[in-house]
């Protein structure tokens, strides 16, 4: 069934499409609800934003976007056509003036999207979750948590104080927070991870280009080292902990100003090389990849491949 909805820029209290939609006032609070289904072309965009509450997106095998949304107070604004579906919180009042966000209540969006849909998800204090979309994702919140999995081509997750998690990314990942912790798992493309004080944990990364930066957060990396890959880890005072596969081939350049460097790998100095305070250059295997780690005062710990390093002695 072809569904060609072209409602654009309409402030919606009641919405119609293939499925009935309801606007209901309940007791003392007025809820606004939206229940609708829109057919979306492959690779079409789904753009969801709210102030507080929760955005929850799940990929499914139907060619439609199905939305079930409600807001405690205030109105939802919806528009949809076959290439783009947009749902946001209406923040202007009847006079067209910008509404104080304090008057807009919690919203909840439960949305199913076709595989391959491009997601743009934004919240201010709300949480954002997306699973199984198998397409591009741009997800952000200010104080809420952002958690996405099963994205493709290009994924970006951002929060200021919430946590940002991305898993099963078949493409490039950019993850950024200020104080929230970052976690990325099973990423196959380039990885760029940046925080100020949040901790960064990268697990199961298979990438040729990894860059992490933090000021006081800690960084931990467990992933492959691809031939001719480049891996750069940087912090000011946070600890950098690298778990390198035993059979990796890489040239390491590791430097700290006042921290310490602790590595499992034997460092054989070549003739003419000197061991410098706070600096280690060494090569393992065929030396094709390049790994750099730099801190001001943070510790740098490089372990070789077994997670049982601590099951020591």
């Amino acid at each position: 069934m072809k569904n060609e909805m072209k409602l654009t820029g309409v402030i919606v209290a009641v919405v119609m499409a293939a499925a009935p939609a309801l606007a209901r006032a309940q007791d003392e609070r007025s809820f606004t609800q939206l229940d609708t289904t829109v057919r979306l072309d492959r690779g079409g965009a789904v753009d969801l934003s709210l102030i507080s509450g929760k955005i929850n997106v799940v990929g499914w095998d139907q060619p439609n976007v199905r939305i079930s949304a409600s807001i405690e107070s205030g109105l939802l604004r919806f528009s949809g056509n076959s290439s783009r579906v947009t749902l946001s919180v209406d923040d202007s009042d009847e006079g067209g003036r910008r509404r104080h966000h304090g008057n807009v209540g919690e919203a909840r969006y439960d949305v199913s999207v076709p595989r391959g849909a491009r997601l743009i998800l934004e919240a201010v204090s709300g949480d954002v979750t997306a699973r199984g979309s198998q397409g591009e994702i741009e997800a952000s919140s200010v104080s809420g948590d952002v958690e996405v999995s099963d994205g493709a081509r290009s994924v970006s997750v951002e929060s200021v104080s919430g946590e940002a998690h991305a898993a099963q990314v078949n493409g490039n990942l950019r993850a950024e927070t200020v104080s929230g912790d970052l976690r990325a798992e099973n990423v196959s493309g380039n990885v760029q991870a940046s925080t100020v004080s949040g901790d960064i944990r990268l697990v199961g990364i298979q990438s040729r280009d990894v860059r992490t930066e933090t000021v006081s957060g800690s960084v931990s990396y467990a992933g492959t080292i691809e031939p001719s890959g480049r891996y750069g880890f940087e912090s000011h005072s946070g600890t950098i902990r690298l778990n390198i596969p035993r059979n990796a081939g890489a040239n390491f350049s590791v430097e700290t100003f006042s921290g310490s460097i602790d590595t499992d790998f034997p460092v054989t100095l070549l003739p003419g090389q000197k061991r410098r305070e706070g600096h280690m250059d060494f090569t393992i295997g065929d030396g094709r990849a390049r790994v750099t780690a730099q801190t001001f005062s943070g510790e740098i710990i490089i372990s070789n491949g077994s997670t049982t390093r601590r099951e020591d002695e």
């Binding site: 934003s49 102030i51 507080s52 104080h100 966000h101 304090g102 934004e122 201010v124 204090s125 741009e138 952000s140 200010v142 104080s143 970006s156 951002e158 200021v160 104080s161 950019r174 200020v178 104080s179 940046s194 100020v196 004080s197 930066e213 000021v215 006081s216 940087e234 000011h236 005072s237 430097e255 700290t256 100003f257 006042s258 706070g278 600096h279 730099q294 801190t295 001001f296 005062s297």
Partner: protein
Amino acid sequence: MTNSNMTCEEFDAALPDYLEGTLDESLRAAVQKHLSECVRCASLARDLEKIRKDAAALPDMAPSRDLWQGIEARIAAPVIPLAARPERQRRFAPAWMGVAAAALIVSTAGITYVLTARSLDRSSPRVAVVPAATQTRGDSDSSTAEPSAPQTAAEVGKGNSRQAPAVSRVVKAEPTGRDAIDARFAAQDQEHSEYVYGKEIEKLQQIMATRKTQLDSSTVAIIERNLQIIDAAIAQSKAALARDPRSRLLSGQLTHALDKKVELLRTVALLPAST
């Protein structure tokens, strides 16, 4: 479940889970039966159980001195008037960018810096570090704004030339020994970058001051806390760099910290309002 009795080896293997309480019924019965019959194992189990209980009951220890001074010194906020190379743009330009944010894009994105400290060949006479006000990248005809901020590209183009700080200096090399030259240029680069960075940060901080009222207070607290963290890092790097001006590690650290500061201030400027 066999009828034969458990051996001491089997007991040893089952002991950790027994103490944890995670053995299944039949194994637990077998262990208890063995315990009732075997002095060695009974004593072992009892001792380990006692160790566990004693450990759980260990009292708190107290440090030998008051550690607060040291903590307070480290969390005190230094004052840093510096900025960073505003090279990276946010890829993510939310639809609710207001006028202030657009102005921000104009003022910072229009300036691309080419810091030549490390990339210059030191044997050649020194040239200035020049702000490229209308640097074009690739084939785009509007200025530096990367494709992800299409809404403001036009505004950037318009406002650009007005906003670029008119700073440029040409420094001629005075060879008095390579080390001396290097050191002097390193210091001058530092000064120079600090000057321009300082301007950027000032602008961004003004924008931040106006934005504070639009953000919720815990977000503001977090941002201020993290600015302090970055400022402390800047201060430390600067102090160390003052003692060793040619350290690439340190100048890299400083640059990164400065970059972070600008990034953070920009992030704040572009945040969606929550009030």
